[in-house]
């Protein structure tokens, strides 16, 4: 394995690290590893580095990089939102790898905002043959609502909290309870440049159908931190009209935090995604 630092694009280059396997097969896809939130390209708890090196062990080249304005990449001029600029910047990275290495197929990986960017990029670029997401867009189902309210119905604490929330709305008591030191902390916090907004479910259904008809493989992992996700098959059930068949590899790590802080979950995530990537590569090779 060899790693190289790269600067892609001008005049304000995107900074990244290419992780190369011992032997590079340009017929195999390369993986683009996206930022999560405002964390720089090593990823939450260094997860992106672990993934990149695991991919290298199975002969897959990857690049982990910073979108403009995140990590080591400078901001770029223009007033496009992250959801608009991220796919375009991802295309730049793909163009770079295609020009420099001759690689023409790509797999995308992202957590949270990175997951959103992976989906949006896949929609606009047919070189994307697969993507892996952690805590992707998700939508509640009737079963979710049933499980959610059933769990709370018999908990006195939930009723107490509900009363408190109702009282807060009436009397605006909450605003008096922000400690002064918290206000000061906020003043020195870098504001998040991207506020997650889930698209209408029908838009996602259309998008997913299009991707499935293109033969795009999807690996999606939901964690227990995703408030709107409550059981393993919820995603599939949310989109019953989408014929995922074997294109969707869905997992639910209900005990995991959103940024995968537990070491056992980190190992599990790396293994799950690497195994899936191996499967995708073998499927692509069979298609050739």
């Amino acid at each position: 394995m060899k790693e190289r630092a790269v600067r892609v694009g001008r005049p304000s280059p995107l900074i990244g690290v290419v992780c190369e396997p011992e032997i590079i097969d340009v017929q195999r896809p390369a993986v683009l590893i996206f930022n999560s939130g405002v964390m720089h390209h090593i990823g939450s708890c260094r997860l992106s580095v672990k993934l990149a090196r695991s991919f290298s062990d199975i002969g897959i080249l990857s690049v982990r990089f910073d979108f403009s304005g995140i990590g080591d990449s400078n901001t770029r001029r223009g007033n496009g939102s992250f959801s608009k600029t991220a796919p375009l910047e991802a295309k730049e990275i793909m163009d770079y790898l295609q020009a420099k290495r001759g690689i023409k197929k790509f797999v995308l990986y992202g957590l949270c905002s990175g997951a959103d960017a992976a989906y949006e990029t896949a929609l606009i670029d047919e070189r994307v043959v697969a993507y892996s997401q952690i805590d992707a867009y998700c939508y509640k189902t009737p079963r979710f609502h049933y499980q959610y309210y059933k769990a709370k119905a018999f908990k006195i604490r939930c009723w107490v909290n509900l009363c408190k929330r109702l009282m807060t709305k009436v009397s605006s008591i909450k605003s008096y309870f922000v400690p002064k030191e918290d206000q000061k902390e906020n003043e020195y916090l870098e504001p998040v440049s991207y506020i997650r907004s889930f698209p209408p479910k029908e838009d996602l259904r259309v998008g997913l159908s299009e991707l499935v008809s293109r033969g795009v493989f999807m690996n999606i992992i939901f964690t227990g931190s995703e408030d709107d996700y409550g059981y393993a098959d919820q995603y599939r059930e949310s989109f019953k009209k989408v014929k995922f068949e074997s294109y969707l590899d869905l997992h639910y790590f209900d005990k995991s935090t959103h940024i995968i802080t537990h070491p056992d979950h980190q190992l599990k995530v790396v293994k799950t995604i690497t195994d899936w990537l191996s499967y995708v590569v073998s499927q692509l090779e069979n298609e050739r």
Binding site: R4, V17, I42, C45, K184, L189, T257, I259, P263, Q266
Partner: protein, 262 residues
């Protein structure tokens, strides 16, 4: 700004060089020494901003990742604090070559301060050392971590598996990063009050909140005429974890360091 790998080919370190941008080139370069774990994640932006501001003052500045962290080679269970002190030495040699200078200033935040101070005692080419909310000892750091995980159950209030715990092998897992027993042991040996600094180096101790002031350390160092300490009130919750990887930018301290070296 140039990202690059340097050092031994089998154990490469990742660094980002900020070459001097304006004015008169300073005769000494700067190496920034990272804190550990989630503190490193949360301070990444602050360090970047500090490096940019210092480069505008005429300094060549190198930020880098220790082995087992960031983009550098190896995993955390393969390294210890002595390796990290060696890595600081490699970074110093690298920036001296690139910048064509004979001396370097070291800046270290939290554990980075302790590591930078250790490197400082081993070399004659350090012009100054800036400690930013540094631990006085590695033992203090480990004790702080252990006190934060004490009493935590298997599951958090949200039903998630608790990520902050000490396992049966003695490994401390904290906010997504694991400290092996070897790493902890090597950290515990480090103690600012047992280090011998030569009189030529200037040492500047910046503290962001009164609770962090170690009067015993300040008393110990005060006798040396090259030591100064200053309280600059600023946010310091480097271990806070949220869904976005919230970034802390304590501007008063960043500006205070720039003013100090400018």
């Amino acid at each position: 700004m140039t990202p690059f790998f340097f050092g031994e080919s089998k154990n490469q370190l990742y660094g980002v060089l900020h070459p001097m941008q304006a004015g008169v080139k300073k005769p000494a370069a700067i190496v920034l020494c990272n804190p550990f774990g989630q503190e490193y994640m949360r301070s990444h932006r602050a360090y970047r901003q500090l490096a940019i501001m210092l480069s505008k003052q005429g300094y060549d500045v190198l930020r880098f990742d220790y082995r087992g962290t960031g983009d550098s080679a190896l995993n955390l269970d393969q390294v210890n604090a002595h390796d990290w002190i060696d890595d600081i030495g490699v970074a110093i040699d690298e920036v001296k070559d690139i910048a064509n200078v004979e001396q370097v200033n070291l800046i270290g935040l939290r554990l980075g301060g302790l590591l930078a101070a250790s490197a400082c005692t081993q070399r004659e080419d350090i012009k100054s050392l800036i400690l930013w909310d540094s631990f006085v000892s590695g033992k203090q750091y480990i004790t702080e971590l252990e006190s934060q995980i004490e009493g935590e159950g298997l599951l958090s209030v949200n039903g998630e598996l608790n990520s902050n715990y000490k396992n049966k092998s003695g490994i401390i897992n904290f906010n997504g990063f694991s400290l092996s027993s070897d790493l902890q042991k090597s950290m515990k040996i480090l103690n600012l009050m047992k280090m011998k600094f030569s009189g030529k180096k200037s040492i500047f101790n910046i503290i962001s909140h009164e609770e962090a002031i170690s009067f015993s350390f300040i008393e110990y160092m005060k006798e040396k005429n090259n030591f100064q300490s200053e309280l600059i009130d600023a946010p310091h919750d480097w271990n806070y974890v949220d869904k976005y990887g919230g970034i802390l930018l304590p501007q008063p301290i960043i500006q205070g360091i720039v003013n100090r070296l400018g």
